[in-house]
Every structure is written in C-alpha cells, then in structure tokens.
Amino acid sequence: MKKISAVALVGAFALVATGCSAGGGGGSDSGSAEATGPIKVWLSNNEQEVAWGTAVVEAWNAEHPDEKVTAQEIPAGSSSEEAITAAITAGTAPCLVYNVAPAAVSGWVKQGGLVDLSTLDGGSDYITERSGDVEAYATDGSYYQLPWKSNPVMVMYNKALFEAAGIDPEDPQMNTYDAFLDGAKAIVDSGVQSAIWPAPTSEFYQPWFDFYPLYLAETDGTMLVEDGASTFDSDAGTTVADFWATIYKDKLAPNEASTDDAMSAGTTAMQLAGPWAIPSYADTVDVGFMPVPTSDGRENPTTFADSKSVSMFTSCENQGTAWEFLQFSTNVDNDGALLEATGQMPMRTGLTDAYADYFAANPNYVAFAEQAENTADVPSIPNSVEAWQAFRDEYSSAVIFAKESVGDFLSNAASKIDTLVAE
C-alpha cells in the first residue's frame, strides 16, 4: 500500500510538472482580426437586455447567413466577472461579452484574455467617435473595452414616505449634507426603519454605491486613483467619510443587510441606484430622483457612471465578424433600441438630442440622461479588484462599524492601494 501511495505521489507531481510546463509557447490570440464566420456572444441576465440582444442578433443573422451570431446569457456564477475569469483560463470565453465591469478589465488584460480593440481596423476611432473622451477606459493606452452604456447613480426615493415625513417629494431640498441629514432624521422620526440603506456587506464593489458617488460629487470627478496614486486621503475624502459615518452613528442606515428589497418593503425611503432600478419599482413604489448630495449643495454634481463595456476575447477565432457585429450592435439605431428596452444610457455623445422622442415620452429618465453627461467611472488600474477590496475592508471597519477612526481608514486604505497600484 505504501508503494502504491508513493507511486501515486510521484505520478501526481509528474503530472503537475508536465501540466505546468505545457503552458508556454504561442501567442495569446487564437483567431485573426480578419477571420470571419460564426461567433458566440454572452449577454447579461437582465430580462430586458436579453430581449434587446436577441432582437439585434436576429437582425444581424438575417443579413449575414455565413457569419451567424449565437447569443446566450452569461453562465451562472457568483458574479459575471468570476464566470468570465474562469472562461478565459479555460479558453472557453465567447467572442464578445456585453455588460462587463470596467474594474475587471485590467485583470483580464494581465491574463492575456482580451483583444486590443485599438489594433482592429478603425478601432480607436470608432470608440472615441461614439463615446467622446473615454481615455479613462484605456489600459496602458489601449482600448480593451468599448464603453457601452452607463447607469449614473442618483438618489432614488419613495415619494409617499417623503411626504409622510413632511418633505416635499417634488423638491426635497436635500442637496447639502446638513439638509440631507435633517431630512433623513425626519424620515426615521416618521417611523420608517431607515432613511437610506446602502448594502453594508464587504464585497469589493459596494463602495460604488455609497462612498464613491459622493466622493466623485465632492471632488468634481476625481477618481479613486489618479496618476498612479490614491486621491481620497484628503479633505474631500474625510468630508464624505464623516458624512456616511454620521448616517450610521445616528442609525439613519442599518449596519446589517436587508433581508428583502427594502425599497419595495417600505423599510427604507432612499437608495443609491441607476436607471436600471426604475422598471423594478414601476408597479410598487412611486419613485423620485435627486442628485447625490455634496457638502455645499452644488448644482448637477458628478456621480459614479456605473458603466458597462463590451470586450472581445482572445479565444475568438473569427475576430473580423466579432468586430463587425460589435459595431453593428452599438450603432445609433441599436443604441436607441437599448435605451428603449432597458432605460440604460448608451455611452454616446449628445444623448438627449439623439433620442429626443424617447426622453419626451419617458420624463423619469431625463434626470439620468442629463446626469450621464456628468459622470466618472472606476480608474483603470492594476490589481483593481484587490484595491477596491482593501478600500472596502477599511471603510467597513471605520465608517459602518466605527471600530477605527475615519483618519486611520483613509490613510491605511490609501497606503495599501498605493502599494497595489505600484505592483
């Protein structure tokens, strides 16, 4: 038995040795930029987005019988990013994935999983002509993602609960921190469990829906990291962190997660959300929107774009068709169809002029469209997910659970992130 164990162990190590040495050789792209033929694309699990994607694919296939596109929803996983990372490693990624988070792109570039769209025929020009100045979405000066749509984060509120708290739902006047806190106290005093309920969980992406929109507003769009260094260990960062710490300290927001949809259940009067949330409450809550607050109540402040991109993967054999389809699916007509179907804002210049009829018919979305002109996103940095996780860990400790000071949170998080970005 001992001999069998020894043989098994030796065999296993031999397998490891061969497995590990077989990884080298060859370039990263398995396809070519000119090759045409059938391709596969993945769509998000959002019902309206799937309907849009299916219609676009059908329209394409009707005119391109030799370059058939097959669309499917992204495979189930803890998150889309994890499913895509696994697919890159396994070499099973499709040609295009719609709805990828910009924060994950730098990691996939490091994995050798993404095609540099700038190297394709007219790639950079198409991206900049469609979306304007999107330099922030470039990784090492190249576009590995086409910035596709944005979901500017605003304060969404329940008009009925505002009215019951004595706040004018048509003009809440809560654009400064002081006014916001006063309004929040009035809401809780009126019997609502929480004034605002951001998820207090520790996932790396949660700062995008509490700290970050307010930080972008307070700094007129300074991203978390700029020029290779963190920016938030500053007066503005302190002001925003103190604001949220007060929210938790005064119990205007719970420090545990809601067990259901707090807006639908009426246990919160406000949440930070993008236009994707509007259809969710169409039949249940009469919602209003206001810009995120700032310390001085400035007009039309910058907010988090919560944008999503489309990326092409190196496992794609027919990259020529993929590039043609990517341009087709993001042309003016199909962007309009996306807006119509989902309410999400295509990242193109002159949005309200291009789709004037839509916004005239859907006034709820006008605030988001106007806000879409004034957004910033996550920075494209190395170790992006790890950096946001470090930020969240420190934020939770200081702001949500008050176990360390805001000053320590900012300096510790800044120090960790500076190290991660420099790696």
Partner: protein
Amino acid sequence: MTDNRRLRTRWLGAQPIGGLFALPYFVFVIAIFAYPLAFAVYIAFHDYFFTAPNVEVDRPFVGFDNFVTVLTDPRVLGSFRNTLVFLVINVPLTAVLSLVLAAALNTGIRWVAAYRVAFYVPYLTASVSLVGVWMLLFSGNGLINTILGPLAPDPSWLVNSGLAMPMIAFYVTWKQLGFYILLYLAALQNVPKELYESAETDGAGALKRFLHVTIPGVRSATTLVLILSIITGANLFTEPYLLTNGGGPDGASSTPVLLIYQLGIQQQNPDTAAAIGMILVILVGMLSLAANRATRER
C-alpha cells in the same frame, strides 16, 4: 515460483485483477485529489496567476514569499483566529450534544423515530435556505430581538463582532448534529449489553454507566466525530459568506476559505490563496492528529 512471477506478484499483488477493478478509483483519486493538491503546492511556491491558454508568462519560483505575505497579513491571521473561536465552541459542543442525544435516543423512548428525523432534517436541508431562516430570526428586527426587547444585544447578533462567530458556531452545531447523532447511534449498537448489565449489577447508576461504559464503548466514533467536525470547521465558507454578509463586521467572521475565495477567484492571486490553503491543510492535519491521540485507547 519463477523469478518473473515473483516480481509480478511483488508489484501487482497476488490477485492482479483486483488492481484492474481498483483502477477507476485510483484514477479518480489522482485526478480529483492528488493532482490538484500537488498543483496547489506548486502554485504556492511560485509567482502565479491564471492566464488564457497559450499565453506565455514568467512564473518564477519565489520560495516562501507567498507564505510570508499571508502570515504577515492581519486579515489572514484574523481569519485563523476566527476559525479557532469556531472550533473551540463547535467541536466540544458537537461531540457532547451528539453523544448525549444519541444515548437518549438509544434508550427506547417513545417517538424515537420522530426525534431522529427532527435532528436529521437540518443536516439534509440546504444551508442556504436554513441561513435565510436564521437571518430572519437573528437580524436586528428579527423574532429573537423582538422577544428580548431591551435585552437584545446592540449591535445585533450577526453584526456584533463579539457574537458573529459564536452565532455561526452554534448554527453549524445545530445543523450538523443529526449526522453526528447517527454516527453515535451506530456506534452504540456495538457496545455489548452485558457491560451495562454487569455495571448495573455492581450498583452503577445511569450516570456512571454512561461515563464508564458508554463513553469508552464509543471511543472510535468520538475520534471520527472530532476529526470530521474539525475538518468541517476548517472548511467553513457558506455560513460566514451568507449569514454574516461575506465575513461579518470588520472581518469578525472571516475564515481562511473565504479569503482563499476572495484572493484566488475574485482578486486573481491564486499563489497567496494556495499558500493559505497549504497552511490550513497542515493545521487541520495537526489538530486531527491531536484529536486522534487524545481519544486513542490506552
């Protein structure tokens, strides 16, 4: 016996056909356990990250660098501390409760089948759904706090850094109890009835019979219960992830496996994740060995 036959017997055994039957399992063990384990060892000693197929990258040998990185990370040390808290509560509680309940269920009380089912149902039920029930019970405005009123802890159970990990330990103890009771019930069938009769004849009461007959009689089952509950505790993931929102208040219920997931899958650092895995395997091995020795028959 010829030399050739002797040599063949030496390598393949007296019944080589038996090896053929065992081959599928042998391949299974190599593919599912041995290869990934050996690969994890390789990853832990290299600067490693996953790439797309055929992407050539440098993955230099870094010795113990990954181990130094994780052992100097307060989050990692905290997660091991949290696991220790879990084990200190869960392992003894599991062993004691399951033995006592199994002994009670073995006495021929009425409705014994109903009790056995009642204890076993939580074990069979998916953790995700039971976690939902516990969240409703122990959330800030849950049933327990409603009953306790002003006596409810502040912050509440699952967001209280002092209570989050003990809550998970109690939850897992309750959920797994049915399985361990079943192990003890099986072991109790093998304790000779004559021993109980002799002890009773010698004047031993119920407590003495339990202490001097039952406990020594199920010693091997106790070893199994301890080792299995240690392994279960070391692999803790679902409960802290769901019950305390991915690691609890300020990481108070974070566990090594949760960090392995964060580092290896979310943050694409499989090398440091593998180093945590190696340390965990070694610690679990040491604890299991200690449990085995402590319960060994002398």
